[in-house]
Point group: D2
Chain length 359, copies 4
């Protein structure tokens, strides 16, 4: 199931960074839904490379082309095949380091798993570029969720390096991230983050960070007890984003330091609906959504590709070597990961909603 | 798929806390393996309730009974059905609070998801008691991994409340946790943790904590790119343990503050094998094991059932009420979760090993 | 997936013929359904051995015991574990022929697949006895279909040896099969079939036959295009019944001799509903139910266990031997397969109905 | 799972008859395999339309284009995306009959299932044209089976209308079918079949038929007991071919008339291998391959699209109408189904072989 995700709404990922295209197939999308292609392309733009000095200089238009499943602008219920052609491919740098696995990268593990037959150019199947397909599929899921169930999903950067965003209002979360290059809802922190990234870029180094994701207006009852807890399904999908190393729901790891009397979200009645004033649980109890906003945080590691000299081992000669990575890389992949987190989240929530019979 | 986990090695969980039994079905276990029943029962004892003042007073022997799949002491390749009968059931307390969802518990979400038909006694299907089945199945997986692939798995408490264990040697990790009631490898911290739990118990309150898990001698190549990354599969399984709210691999959330030059684990050659001196990646690159020990941490929330008065809403009368939970509960479920983390980890690693054609 | 069937309504089969029990786990059954245990036991009786001279003399009460998933007589939405204990086990005959694979049986293939570790007693996992679990699970599915969707399922013998039943009315299909030992709707043919079976039994030989299955009042739209056509899903489930060697829908293999002008079921309007006067398609067009009754036929081979001398090869000595099978066997398994065909059909139709959002 | 088939080797089908393309995605194909593109294109030609007066006049080159998963001519272990563009599309005839479901076709069931949003042009997703993707994927599976496991698969027409082929030698099965337009191994019967098709074509009518499939040199042990019997998996895949209405293994439905003493294939020893002289079981015992050739027959109905006037009901006006289908159709789809049966068989056998750890 390496390249297939979901139960009722499934996506199949394919394509390579320096091959002909990256793509995604969506199976199980309901028939008769009017696709907003412009909105989809707008999502693509949020993840697109080559747009500022903060990100890789690779120039890709990332135009999504539809190959099946849409008829007269409406979904047909058949698999939707979306392709994004690779246009600005420069594989020259990769021939040189073909036998030099980059520290922090999948080069070494891919080499062993596929006995050296994997497409190593640009990381191939392990490149962040495959998330272009995630975003395209996620755009459809987001449209479906918003239109049919009034569910909205917002992801935004809350930390880059040691710079942490402060908590802001929901209104700010909705409008601020698109106003700055790091997609942070705290505009002051955003400025500092941008400066830090530029500084670290000059050092030929890279930065990690944390993204928070908020699901507004989720229905009660998403997720299953035991093996398909909502946390399980979201975590599985989120960990398929390259460079993700941690996920926590609600107060997350801080829960270790809290007593039950403080951590438990007590119930009250609001307009006939049972709600909680705190949301330490992040909207999930017993693996099932309780109707409060679902909140989680995701940790991303610094980009593994850096220009500084690093120790590696030549796979052919079996000798140690020093590697200096060239090529075009993001000094911090967090800003471009924001729409990817939203996309994967939307796909999981849409799948669970369809499983629950919603739509 | 709510109650089924795994691809080649599958487990099916069933049973309820106050029903006849909890159980587990294991499908895909290789034929001809000699089961060590004593070792399995020993694993059960590590999770067993009623053993000290730190845990619930419910007395369960948790004897595993085999109903299928074993012939002459050897596995047959057919599904192995394991049952653990519930013996010390006291449902009296639950009739009283049947309509009063406990804050922090699955009562409310279960009620909505199953329209009130779920077995609410003792949390029913959402009870930590179902993890007895996980431990029984995990015991078989651990035996298989150890005997066939020399893979060993160790989980241990690293934090309870604000008390954190210090880093200790591998030798201590292997022997210390079974020497104390909180299953911590740092014996000094263990003492403090025990005291803290007893103190908080007296306050009718509860504590959360963090468990670390270490997989020794993993083969290179476990896990898949994209949707079945090793992190994805482990996270999905671990989040099926009740009360789990976060997971992080290697340095985890700390990765946000690290630069690439520091975070990347550089390669060197050791006896013909490519290794890394640091292990910030926690043994996983590109979603695939790189042969270094796999390490992750899991956050558990404080037990939701506490004796202190809490606000809830009566599901029948739709009126607010104050709830004081009686019944027998762990003041801190972390120590008993340690063997459960090991079990779920063993099941995932065994499944992936079988998928990879090992054994 | 060897022992798991279904998507939304799943069953897991386990247990062996001469082990402690045979059993079935049902996952995904909707909550709040009142189980009619008496009706379930009645279904079991239809498949039960030891009831007449036409079937094996093994005496099994086949009482279904519920181990989970039912609370106060209602389903909870949790997995339902049903066990049928083996009581009249006589494994003495099997020790003698342990190394002598019976022609027509799974002994040889099981031996190779499980390297000799399979439980060979009574055929173990390959015994027709495992279908007791199918019937128990199917009984629940039948109740659900009938009560919620008014769908009824009837299977009946249409051929045994060379004796073929003539076509009879729907009324006769509904009442006649339970009136005779071979479960045939044509009572005259039934008498001949009974006599034939007794005659062949005396010859230490066995007979095959054909069962027809009729699904009344199916909704339009069950089944999927391409890989989960209704024929695909039904065939997959039916071929899991031991001894089944063929399945055909509607006119089946006769379709080869029909021209399109004759085979096409033309449409007409009846009370606002589009129907067909002929039903050559057996209620399925393009892999999807069209609202007409679904009809298919299933071929069963003669019981492989016969008392006549047969050639085999000793697995230990690798020498040819002559085998005379003792033990208790059905001279014709078709009558007892009738409720099994109904059960598997009910499980598939219930699964597809739940997938379609019915119930 | 409507559009996904397989466990370890999966294929995903997509595309529509009159859309941009039909396609297939192959997930789980082993890395490092050299693809013979010419052989693949040759398989495509066997199914290609427009080649003789016996088949539809639609002209499609059916050139397979590779979009991912191949690097330097070798498989990479990543998903292989294959596209076949639709070139000779004429949808004009379909606008006229948009609301007139064709008898024997999926038009009506598709309309209800997808609420009228399905792409009805040329049958859309239900067209035989989607099998172009099956053949492309199957070509890879056939190459893998032949090269790695020496398994060969042959399908051939054994009946069209009332004309039945006589049994011929294996040598003839291997070479004759490609020598005639109906792909029959009995060359005399082939001539009669060709004539009959031309005659029926003139009558604006169509014919059904039967295809036999033979798997040579299968390993012992493919298939699982219970729900994934080899018959189950093959039947599921074969019933996904449009117009298939029946499948039978070995002697098939004739088994009903055979006594056990005749039907059982007795064992003998041949060069240390246990074999059977008869092969009534079609190479499968207890759902598992026994090493003898696997044989099964598949019934195909006559093409539903015929030029004769037929009764239908207008979906808009809800009035009866008479329909005369125009457009380009095969008078008998059996010859073109032959490579499709081979392809689906190869995909199943390759999947099971990979599951068994072969390759």
């Amino acid at each position: 199931m390496a390249n297939i995700l979901g139960e009722k709404l499934k996506i199949v990922s394919f394509g390579e960074s320096h091959g002909k295209c990256v793509g995604v197939l969506i199976d199980g999308f309901p028939a008769g839904f009017k696709i907003d292609l412009e909105a989809m392309q707008k999502e693509m733009k949020r993840r697109q490379p080559g747009q500022s000095s903060l990100v890789t200089s690779r120039k890709e238009e990332d135009k999504v082309e539809i190959f099946s499943g849409i008829f007269n602008g409406l979904t047909t219920g058949s698999p939707i095949c979306l392709l994004i052609f690779n246009k600005d491919v420069d594989s020259s740098k990769y021939e040189l380091i073909k036998n030099l696995p980059r520290p922090g990268h999948a080069d070494l593990t891919a080499y062993f798993k596929y006995k050296g037959f994997n497409d190593y150019r640009g990381g191939g199947r392990f490149s962040g570029r495959i998330t272009a397909g995630f975003v395209a599929a996620g755009a459809l899921a987001k449209q479906l969720l918003k239109e049919k169930l009034k569910i909205e999903i917002y992801a935004y950067t809350v930390q880059i390096g040691k710079i942490k965003a402060k908590e802001v209002s929901l209104a700010e979360i909705k409008k601020n991230p698109e106003k700055n290059l790091v997609k942070c809802a705290d505009l002051k922190a955003a400025q500092k983050m941008e400066k830090l990234i530029l500084k670290v870029k000059k050092q030929n180094d890279s930065l990690g960070g944390i993204i928070e994701c908020l699901i507004l207006n989720p229905p009660v009852g998403l997720g299953e007890p035991v093996f398909n807890s909502l946390e399980s399904d979201l975590a599985k999908a989120i960990f398929s984003i390259p460079a993700c190393k941690g996920i926590e729901f609600g107060v997350g790891f801080k829960v270790a330091e809290m007593k039950g009397s403080l951590n438990n979200d007590q119930f009250y009645l609001s307009q006939g609906k049972i709600m909680t004033r705190t949301n330490n649980a992040g909207g999930i109890l017993g693996g099932i959504s309780n109707g409060m906003p679902i909140v989680f945080k995701v940790a991303f590691k610094p980009t593994a590709s850096i220009g500084q000299p690093q120790k590696t081992v030549n796979l052919k000669t079996k000798k140690p070597e020093i590697l200096k990575i060239e090529g075009r890389h993001d000094p911090c992949l967090v800003p471009r990961a924001v729409p990817v987190v939203e996309a994967m989240t939307a796909l999981v929530i849409a799948d669970l909603s369809l499983q629950a019979g919603s739509n």
